[in-house]
């Protein structure tokens, strides 16, 4: 048995296909195809949640994605818990666990419901006004309390074990919506041969036909036709039909995001199935067939469980075979609720009364009601309801006065009319226009290449909808290159025309009342709140929205927007179009983080770049550090060594013997062409024309403002060929910077830039024994000091592999950088290591590299410079060619501030206590006893323990630094003040003799 309220013979589900699930710990039985909402109602459960602010008991309002109330937590296991799932969308599956939200300790008894009694204090804007002062209380008191009491579901606390996938897809025609208009448009477009995607957020196509009994299409029942039409489309090669797929965002140039829920309805999804599939669609034409959403009536206590939209009750009955109650009341300002009442009555449900606030319902409705023995109270309103956890009675009153009459009901269905769903149109930046005749907003001026058809376009008649959709489909197909095609023959009849209705508060909930007549169920916004907002001076609908939060919940105001607007307009004494309409923004319905992050997590979060020698480094115990996307060997601890000990040993070994360092991540750019030297002259402060092939030079690159941008060694390989190196982190932006100037400022130069960063593996061999280590492996190059002095480059072979061998040093030791094609990097490294290890050399990492270069006062761009440092500041004036007429930054260097006295200059620092190592970034002052805020002279840029110097060393940028040589300055720290002496930047081998070997 799948619930006492299941009506035999009604609906489309198969009674034999039962599904067991739990809700708040109780076991229920539903049918395959049920939503959680329909299955619970079938079992007589209407209380499904508590409201956000007042914790009022709530049931379902709708039967689809517009649902504001019935938000659930759906749990598969500890890791897979999804909060805030709409019970009206989630399909039940065997073994599903659903829990209600926003209640404590239980749904039936909720402590937070006291908020409802205190509601006079929780008026609109309450939070803004109350929790303003004192500021400190926010962190300690207000926020924790508010968070505990309010809020929606609970997020899972384990990593999501599901996987998600994505696809970019391009099509001629995207049809959003699989109701009659969408299907008609897709059938027509598909005939032209155009590639078509049609999507619908529900599990099935058919839209309103799922509940509109009595509609026929080409003579067959409407829903059957829809199913057949979707199947026909799915069978076509040029069509993709996506159900359970929500078009959630409409972006520029017909870029539309679709979220397909692949496994949420399955009991045992195949492991390879993604939970969701994100489709990023680029469509030449978009057809919006998004239908319309019914509005509720705004009256006192219109939010009790059992009170819902008439279309929802009709879908529960006609699709799921579920009666929403046994004694149903109807409250309407529109004809559509009558059809629901008639269907219910014919299914054997007692309809207590149809309360119509209008004098004159649509043609023939009173007669049909009389035939079914349903009482119709025209010119009446429901002015209140009662019932604790479910409606038990409605109070009905004649509009012109008189006494109220209580009618016992266990469900109340309502309709204030239909709101064309212009969300996607609005997201496309189209401007909606107020249609005064039908009192609704419709698509006005289009901003993108799209068309609206059917109910979302204000087309009410079924055949007119079909004709409009077919025409749009054919036109879209033809416009995107499809062939001429005959119209599909589609004849529909038996649907109601549901224009009309009302917007705003109904009788008994007007401006003179204080009742709780809910406009926005999810955010607990009442008609009174909106009026208060207007009284408080919010005259724009955008302000009213933010002050009351109307329409700002996860349902995006699907049912509340128009009511809110009408109430604000009335309070302002203006017409609705004058008050405007808030903008609908993506997403149409909430999208999971899983879909958005998609593949980009775990090892695919970001590319992890590894050098050709990475495997060797791992095998030799290297600890790695991240440098941008690169994984670089940081240091190589041996047994019993911590980082400090390992780095000290590496530093000693390099200077005493030699070390191998993986420098492959250095950026490399091959600059080739007859104007190569001329171009480098413009890019660097140095002069390049006179550099001979086979020689290297340290270059400094500035931005146009005169500040250091990058540095590196440049080797001239041939007259027209330079091998430029950049910092590891600077490689892409330096290439971009150089390309920019080459392409747009100096396009006449015959020179090209090619990134070779990854062509070459680079093995730095540094130290007194460097030559001895590599010499036996090298062919065709004379490595002697005379033949190959410091700052030279040669081409030849090493280990039988072509090499560009540079005699360069970033350590101050004699050394080489061996460039070999990357595929051979590891093999050559191993060959060099086999020579180096027996001689007592070591492999060293980036930390040792940093210490060694600091001992020599070599800067690291981005560490010792910060984008406001000139070559003069850094003590590199010698690298500026004085005679060059131009280079990037030449004018910037002449700016008044850059030539002014007192600029910060790079200097060395020695701590008075040699063991004290300064913190990088620490501020420096002249007088540590001055009052706070102290005058800062500068800061520490690099600081290390130097094993080779036997003391701590640092570099710092200090105002007038070089003139302060020998001065004592102070570094105030939280616990003490450190005395330092200003020195030069070279701490080791001041004369620079060691590089010459």
């Amino acid at each position: 048995m799948s619930g006492a309220n299941r009506i035999a013979g009604a609906g489309r589900l198969t009674p034999a296909k039962t599904v067991r699930f739990t809700f708040d710990g109780d076991i229920y039985t539903g049918l395959e195809g049920d939503t959680l909402a329909s299955a619970l109602i079938a079992n007589g459960v209407h209380l499904m949640g508590r409201s956000f602010k007042y914790h009022r008991p709530r049931g379902v309002l709708g039967a689809g994605s517009e649902e504001p109330n019935a938000l659930m937590g759906i749990e598969r296991d500890k890791a897979r818990k999804q909060p805030n799932v709409r019970a009206t969308v989630q399909e039940v599956f065997e073994g599903m666990t659903a829990v209600s939200q926003n209640r404590w300790p239980s749904l039936g008894f909720d402590v937070g419901a006291v908020n409802d009694l205190l509601s006079p204090f929780f008026a609109a804007g309450f939070y803004y006004k109350t929790f303003m002062w004192p500021k400190a209380a926010w962190q300690k008191l207000y926020e924790p309390v508010i968070r505990a009491a309010a809020g929606l579901g609970v997020s899972p606390d384990e990593a999501d074990t599901d996987h998600y996938t994505s696809r970019y897809i391009h099509c001629d025609v995207l049809v959003i919506g699989g109701g009659v208009s969408g299907l008609s448009a897709a059938l027509a477009a598909a005939r032209t041969g155009a590639s078509v995607i049609i999507c619908d957020e529900q599990a099935h196509a058919g839209g309103a036909f799922a509940y509109e009994a009595g509609v026929t299409m080409n003579g067959e029942p409407g829903f059957d036709w829809a199913v057949a039409a979707a199947n026909e489309l799915a069978a076509m090669d040029n069509v993709r039909v996506l159900t359970r797929t929500t078009a959630f965002g409409y972006y520029a140039q017909n870029f539309v995001g679709l979220a397909e829920r692949v496994t949420d309805h399955l009991a045992d999804p195949e492991p390879q199935q993604p939970r969701e599939r994100l489709w990023q669609v680029r469509a030449k034409k978009v057809i919006l067939a998004t239908g319309a959403i019914e509005r509720h009536m705004v009256f006192a206590n219109n939010d009790r469980p059992g009170i819902m939209l008439s279309s929802a009750a009709r879908k529960f009955l006609n699709h799921y075979g579920v009666a929403v109650g046994t004694k149903v009341g109807v409250y309407t300002a529109n004809d559509s609720a009558y059809e629901t009442a008639f269907d219910l009555k014919r299914a054997g449900v007692s309809v207590e009364a149809i309360v119509d606030c209008r004098d004159h319902p649509g043609e023939g409705l009173l007669e049909r009601a009389a035939d079914l023995n349903i009482e119709v109270l025209t010119d009446h309103s429901v002015i209140n309801t009662s019932g604790a956890r479910r409606i038990s009675a409605m109070t009905v009153k004649r509009n012109r006065g008189g006494a109220g009459r209580s009618i016992a009901v266990d469900a109340l269905i309502m309709s204030a009319g239909w709101t064309p769903s212009v969300h996607m149109f609005s997201q496309s930046r189209g401007k909606v226009a107020w249609d005064a005749d039908t009192q609704r907003y419709l698509p006005g001026e289009y901003a993108q290449d799209c068309t609206s058809v059917g109910a979302c376009n204000g087309t009410d008649d079924l055949q007119a909808t079909i004709d409009e959709a077919v025409a749009a489909g054919l036109a879209a197909g033809k416009a995107t290159g499809g062939k001429r095609a005959a119209k599909p023959k589609l004849a529909g009849s038996g649907a109601g025309n549901w224009s009309g209705g009302m917007a705003g508060s109904a009788a008994g909930a007007g401006p003179d009342t204080t009742v709780k007549a809910f406009v926005d169920f999810q955010n607990d916004v009442t008609a009174k709140d909106i009026r208060l907002a207007v009284r408080e001076g919010m005259h724009s609908i955008e302000h009213v929205k933010r002050f009351t939060t109307n329409g700002m919940a996860s349902d995006q105001g699907k049912t509340s927007n128009i009511h809110g607007l009408a109430i604000a307009a009335e309070a302002l004494g203006r017409d609705m179009p004058e008050v405007g309409l808030t903008t609908f923004r993506p997403p149409y319905t909430p999208v999971t983080f899983g879909s958005i992050v998609n593949h980009g997590r775990g090892k695919l979060f970001d590319p992890a770049r590894k050098t050709p020698m990475h495997g060797w480094e791992e095998e030799h115990g290297a600890v790695f550090e991240d440098v941008g996307q690169w994984k670089r060997a940081w240091y190589y601890p041996r047994a019993g060594e911590d980082m400090h000990a390992a780095v000290n040993r590496e530093c000693r070994t390099v200077r005493a013997v030699a070390g191998l360092f993986d420098a492959s991540t250095l950026g490399k750019i091959e600059v080739v062409g007859p104007d190569a030297a001329k171009f480098l002259d413009l890019m660097y402060t140095n002069g390049w024309q006179k550099l001979k092939p086979g020689r290297c030079k340290y270059g400094i690159m500035l931005r146009e403002d005169g500040f250091i941008y990058d540095d590196g060694v440049v080797a001239r390989i041939a007259e027209d060929r330079f091998h430029v190196t950049t910092t590891t982190g600077g490689a892409p932006r330096v290439l971009n910077h150089m390309e920019d100037y080459l392409q747009t400022e100096f396009p006449e130069l015959d020179v090209w830039l090619t990134s070779t960063s990854e062509q070459w593996a680079v093995i730095a061999v540094q130290g007194p024994k460097a030559r001895e280590i590599i010499a036996p492996l090298v062919e065709g190059i004379d490595l002697s000091n005379e033949a190959m002095p410091h700052m030279s480059a040669r081409e030849g072979k090493i280990c039988g592999v072509p090499t560009r061998l540079f005699r360069v040093s970033f350590t101050g030791e004699a050394g080489f950088e061996v460039n070999v094609p990357a595929d051979y990097g590891r093999a050559v490294w191993e060959a060099i290591w086999a020579r180096a290890e027996p001689l007592g050399a070591c492999a060293y990492g980036t930390e040792t590299m940093h210490v060694l270069r600091a001992e020599k006062g070599f800067i690291i761009v981005g560490q010792d410079t910060d984008g406001t440092v000139t070559p003069q500041d850094a003590g590199l004036s010698w690298a500026i060619a004085k005679s060059k007429p131009d280079f990037v930054g030449i004018r910037g260097l002449m700016r008044p501030d850059l030539v002014a006295e007192g600029r910060k200059q790079l200097v060395g620092l020695k701590t008075k206590d040699p063991k004290t190592v300064l913190e990088e970034g620490a501020q420096i002052v002249a007088d540590p006893n001055q009052p706070v805020p102290m005058k800062m002279l500068g800061h520490v840029t690099s600081s290390y323990w130097s094993e080779n110097c036997g003391q701590s060393i640092a570099m710092a940028l200090i105002a007038d630094g070089r003139a302060r040589a020998g001065e004592t300055l102070y570094v105030p720290m939280p616990d003490r003040t450190i005395e330092v002496e200003v020195t030069g930047t070279v701490f080791f081998d001041e004369k620079g003799e060691r590089v010459n070997g």
């Binding site: 996987h163 996938t165 994505s166 696809r167 970019y168 897809i169 391009h170 590639s195 692949v262 195949e270 390879q272 199935q273 993604p274 599939r277 990023q280 680029r282 593949h599 980009g600 090892k603 695919l604 970001d606 590319p607 992890a608 770049r609 590894k610 050098t611 050709p612 996307q629 690169w630 091959e670 080739v672 062409g673 007859p674 015959d750 020179v751 090209w752 090619t754 990134s755 070779t756 960063s757 990854e758 062509q759 070459w760 036996p776 492996l777 062919e779 090493i798 280990c799 039988g800 592999v801 070999v820 094609p821 990357a822 595929d823 051979y824 990097g825 590891r826 093999a827 050559v828 060959a831």
Partner: protein, 189 residues
């Protein structure tokens, strides 16, 4: 010198393999590659020297014209830029040395590596991370483009209707391979 053990190469995607019934993902064979940049005056001489006609239409590639350069391809990457790929291991730098006109040839054989994605779902798998329209109508056999795959830049070449060559820089190849292997898990592809 006689005792120098010649170094042997190690390729970035050695031993990697992924696939399903609908798609295979395999590392491409090692190849010689040339990053070629040229002024118009060098296009004809270079085409002759390399025995492959440098294409001048965007998004197109050309195959070698001589018998022994059949396996050689020149890919249009930009208005003065080509990527030349040769799986026979020919010395492309030597081939274009001395060709007339103004140009830049740089050996990038080891900078790039390639992944072959083949099978009926090849297009769908690449579309998991490539924003371009890869339908045959928009991206015909022989079409090529530098573009993106997930978070990395690639050069895409459609060798056959169901075969794509994904060229990327070597340190991004593990990411690109893992991305494709992840994408093919979706049975929908």
């Amino acid at each position: 010198m006689a005792d120098i053990q010649a170094a042997s190469p190690q390729y970035p995607l050695d031993g990697m393999v992924a696939g399903s019934a609908l798609v295979q993902i395999t590392p491409a064979a090692p190849a010689s590659r040339l990053a070629l940049r040229a002024r118009p005056d060098a296009i004809a001489p270079l085409s002759k020297a390399l025995a492959v006609k440098l294409p001048q239409e965007p998004k197109t590639s050309a195959q070698g014209t001589a018998a022994k350069t059949k396996g050689r391809r020149a890919l249009w990457l930009g208005p003065d830029e080509w990527l030349v790929i040769d799986e026979s291991g020919a010395d492309l730098m030597a081939a274009c040395q001395g060709a007339g006109g103004t140009f830049s040839a740089v050996d990038v054989s080891n900078r790039n590596t390639a992944i072959i994605v083949s099978g009926p779902a090849a297009e769908a798998v690449i579309s998991a991370g490539c924003p371009q329209d890869l339908s045959l109508k928009a991206f015909a056999v022989g079409a090529c483009a530098r573009t993106l795959l997930g978070k990395t830049e690639v050069v895409l070449l459609r060798e056959e209707a169901d075969v794509f060559r994904v060229e990327c820089w070597r340190s991004f190849s593990a990411y690109a391979f893992a991305f494709l292997a992840e994408a093919l898990r979706d049975p929908m592809v």
